[in-house]
């Protein structure tokens, strides 16, 4: 039986509906899973996406792009293919794309995670024939700790820094991770400042109706601002740059799934690393596959060869779509590590 989606050099293509899902290059019609730049790329004529990603997408795309939005669960017919968006739990407005054509169902997860997140709707399983899943953290060493305990330790770290008259600088990806962090911070501990890119993301979240504790753009801070005791949420690329000088004595931390590995903490010399990811870890990747009961699984974006091999040994029909496997040794090139982070968050 032929599939609804085909893998092409521009991404997943649906010949029946003549559209792409998360295309890597400009196309006529693009369905996008979420607003991260490696999924929603510039230059296509028309974008179709989940309603709750509207503000984020408009913030990131050029003004002359054309958009069409659908609510979660609402079905749109494109060339006879029934297209619908379902929560992926990754960031605000992130969606799994469900396609149905002549009784066959295929699902593209995009980036996703299981469990609750105060800033977006939770992932839900979709029964399907073909599941196309990401595998950014598809190794059994990745098992996320409970998010409540992660937020507790973040707030505890903030408290300790405050008592030592230090400013806390916490790095997270500008859209998604940062807002999830901010929602988990305890605003009674002190003021929360944000790097410009993060503050832009906050605005889009608030416009969509997500409530976040009050935040201040760092460049709108008073000249006399005392930074000791404050929290600054910033993008990782600010680490080690002169931009940090203004904050005086600081303690730095990174929130990312990569922080589960001691080597990635040490290499970038953050004072602390918090394990907080918006992707599925090993156990939840396996349980989501079980819940969707697919006949076939295509694994992409990450440790795809490892995950596909494991699933095959467990009796499933699975293949890896990445022509290249993520370099196992991401120590060899520091540059790769950084781009991994940007790509995957």
């Amino acid at each position: 039986m032929s599939t609804i989606l085909q893998q092409t050099s521009r991404g997943f293509y649906c010949p029946q509906g003549d559209f792409y899902v998360d295309p890597s290059r400009p196309v006529d019609r693009a369905i996008v899973t979420h607003a991260h730049t490696d999924h929603a790329r510039w230059g296509s004529r028309l974008y179709l996406a989940a309603r709750s990603s509207e503000h984020l997408l408009r913030m990131r795309m050029s003004a002359d792009a054309e958009f069409q939005f659908a609510n979660y669960g609402e079905t749109i017919s494109v060339g006879g293919v029934q297209v619908s968006f379902h929560p992926a739990g990754h960031i605000l407005g992130s969606a799994q794309i469900r396609l149905e054509y002549r009784g066959r169902i295929e699902v593209v997860t995009g980036d996703y995670k299981l469990g609750s997140d105060a800033t977006c709707e939770s992932w839900q399983p979709l029964r399907c024939h073909l599941l196309i899943t990401e595998s950014t953290f598809g190794l059994p060493v990745y098992r996320w700790p409970k998010q409540t305990s992660v937020f507790e330790s973040i707030n505890q770290w903030w408290r300790e820094n405050r008592s030592q008259e230090q400013c806390s600088v916490l790095y997270g990806y500008a859209v998604g991770k940062s807002q999830r962090i901010i929602a988990g911070l305890d605003p009674s501990l002190g003021p929360i400042f944000c790097h410009g890119a993060v503050e832009k993301g906050n605005e889009a979240y608030r416009q969509t109706g997500v409530s976040l504790p009050p935040t201040i753009h760092t460049s709108h801070a008073e000249k006399s601002q005392r930074w000791a005791g404050a929290m600054v949420v910033a993008v990782p690329s600010a680490h080690g740059t002169p931009w940090l000088k203004r904050f005086g004595k600081i303690s730095t931390a990174m929130a990312s799934g990569w922080m589960a590995i001691r080597g990635s903490r040490r290499r970038r010399s953050f004072d602390r690393g918090f394990v907080l990811s918006d992707h599925v870890d090993w156990p939840s990747l396996l349980s989501s596959v079980d819940a969707c009961e697919p006949e076939t699984i295509w694994v992409t974006h990450g440790y795809s060869a490892v995950v596909a091999r494991y699933l095959r040994q467990a009796g499933r029909d699975a293949i890896s779509l990445d022509r290249w496997q993520r370099s196992v040794d991401h120590e060899e090139d520091g540059g790769t590590e950084k781009s991994d982070e940007e790509k995957s968050e």
């Binding site: 190794l139 059994p140 060493v141 990745y142 098992r143 680490h239 080690g240 589960a260 590995i261 001691r262 080597g263 903490r265 040490r266 290499r267 970038r268 010399s269 004072d271 602390r272 440790y303 490892v306 091999r309 494991y310 040994q313 196992v328 040794d329 991401h330 120590e331 060899e332 520091g334 540059g335 950084k338």
Partner: protein
């Protein structure tokens, strides 16, 4: 055990020396002596005998995690650390670690070596299930003998000094030899009565200042007021013989045990109550001094093999006598001490212990001429010593002068690296170096020549493993490597952050013997700037 693993975590998550010392000091301050004794054991690099083959650990971990062996191996190669991989893949259960470090080592870990495989597996998997991931990670490090956390014996010594309030030399003395991890040893270590250790104590070293290239030695005064010796490029050391015990101290206040066995042996010929100041140099039997690169081969060896002993023989070149018959001679004039030194050394016959040669002259012109021979003798120039001066402590100016052929040298820390061009385009071979300005490392020179190919490859490996950040082609690295840089010239400059422009910087040598904190300061560099009078600097 919980507290020990917290200590591990604190040490592991910082590169700052002071934070490490503080973490250890706090640990020693609240640990039971039995635990503190074991902590010293592990922190100074001692290991338990290999308890279980790693092959078995890998197999058990894969089975506990319910994953195939190949998947465990994939995980291991991604993480790069066996103990960490195991503690990550074996599912964590709600658990709380109980028991002290010493109880853990003595009652749970050491008995493992006498068990059969089945019992071993039971004990080890119980450990995995009964402890949170970060504690079992540290326990696994102890089991696999791979406990390394970036502290040296010297740092442990400093932390213990801080904790006990006893000076570091005494602690170093008490830590000599094999450390037996018992509460008694720890109590002995912190005993405030320091008479036992007095016999090992060195004196503070007298330091020399540099004569600036642009000033003339005539400005120092009359030649008759000075004695001259060759300025050697070796390891400054004090050699002590008291009560038939031998102690050899480096200028970094490090007790160099077993590193220079031929010198320690020669020192046993000295009468008791003798302290010599001198320089350790690689020297051929005919007296020719070998270049520093030869000595370098021996510097970081804790134990020296027979081959190396033969290839790089060393000699302690004594140039001062600080103690005779247990009497402190430091207030005597240099010429009086020299006389006593000559008398003493004439009674000692050993090829590894020699007195330095004095270079006679009638005028500055004589010394100026002799000094031009320095390079071919592997010497850095001349040392000038005021003959009527006492042995000074610290940096009092004017008693000892370094009159180097190449006066512009600075020990700096490598902070950025970039790939080179042409043949070196695959290696990180272009470096930026920094010196200290208070707590901060300020970049002040770029250099890309002077290392051997083998050294280049070693630095390249270091850069890849210790990258902090990549800005385009440039990587910032952990500030750990210290190199001696030489310059054709230095100039004040407002365009440079450091305030100094360097002319033709090159790497003279890799200072394996120095840690980042031992590098020079911006003040030292500024001292080298041409000025009206003789400039300072180590």
């Amino acid at each position: 055990m919980k507290r020990f693993s917290q200590l591990y975590k604190r040490l592991d998550s910082t590169t700052r020396t002071n934070v490490k010392i503080q973490a250890m000091t706090q640990y020693f301050g609240s640990a039971d002596p039995a635990d503190a004794a074991w902590a010293i054991y592990f922190l100074s690099g001692e290991k338990l005998r290999r308890l279980i083959p790693t092959k078995l650990l890998r197999q058990w971990a894969a089975e506990e995690a319910k994953i195939p062996a190949w998947l465990f191996d994939e995980s291991y190669s991604s993480v790069g650390d066996l103990a960490e991989t195991i503690s990550l893949v074996v599912p964590e259960q709600e658990s709380e670690t109980t028991g002290s470090l010493s109880a853990w080592v003595e009652e749970r870990l050491k008995p493992i070596q006498n068990m059969d495989e089945k019992q071993q597996r039971k004990v080890v998997t119980d450990i995995w299930h009964q402890n949170p991931a970060e504690v079992r990670f540290v326990i696994l490090k102890l089991i696999t003998g791979a406990f390394r956390v970036g502290v040296s014996k010297r740092l442990v010594t400093r932390a213990l000094a801080e904790h006990t309030g006893i000076c570091a030399e005494v602690i170093a003395h008490r830590l000599m030899g094999t450390w037996s991890p018992t509460p008694e040893s720890f109590l002995r270590l912190s005993n405030p009565d320091i008479n036992d250790a007095v016999i090992s104590q060195p004196y503070p070293f007298c330091l020399a200042h540099s004569i600036n290239r642009d000033s003339t030695p005539e400005s120092l005064g009359n030649t008759n007021d000075f004695a001259a010796e060759w300025k050697w490029d070796g390891i400054r050391a004090q050699l002590i013989q008291r009560n038939s015990e031998i102690f050899l101290w480096s200028r970094g206040e490090e007790l160099m045990e077993n590193r220079w066995p031929e010198i320690e042996e020669a020192a046993s010929l000295l009468p008791t109550g003798t302290v010599l100041d001198g320089e350790i140099l690689a020297t051929k039997p005919d007296g020719t001094v070998l270049p520093f690169s030869q000595l370098q081969r021996r510097i970081n060896r804790k134990k020296v093999g027979r081959k190396l002993l033969h290839e790089v023989p060393v000699v302690f070149h004594a140039f001062d006598l600080l103690e005779e018959d247990g009497n402190d001679l430091r207030s005597l004039r240099w010429r009086q001490r020299r006389e006593k030194l000559e008398t003493l050394m004439s009674q000692v016959t050993n090829p590894h212990l020699k007195i330095t040669e004095l270079i006679p002259a009638h005028s500055w012109a004589d010394w100026t001429e002799i000094r031009t021979l320095s390079r071919e003798r592997h010497s850095e120039g001349l040392m000038l010593k005021r003959i009527d001066a006492a042995y000074d402590v610290g940096r009092i100016r004017g008693t000892w002068w370094k009159w180097k052929v190449d006066p512009y040298t600075i020990d700096a820390v490598l902070i950025y690296a970039q790939k080179g061009h042409g043949k070196r385009s695959s290696l990180y071979s272009d470096y930026t170096f920094a010196v200290w300005k208070e707590d901060e490392l300020v970049p002040f020179a770029k250099a890309y020549s002077g290392l051997t190919n083998a050294e280049l490859r070693e630095v390249d490996r270091f850069v890849r493993r210790n990258t902090k950040e990549a800005f385009g082609p440039v990587r910032s690295v952990q500030p750990e490597l210290v190199m001696e840089l030489a310059f054709e010239g230095l100039q004040a400059s407002t365009r440079h952050k450091s305030g100094i422009a360097t002319r033709f910087p090159r790497i003279n040598r890799w200072r394996h013997d120095k840690a980042a904190k031992d590098a020079n300061t911006l003040g030292d560099v500024l001292d080298l700037l041409p000025g009206p009078s003789a400039g300072g600097g180590p």
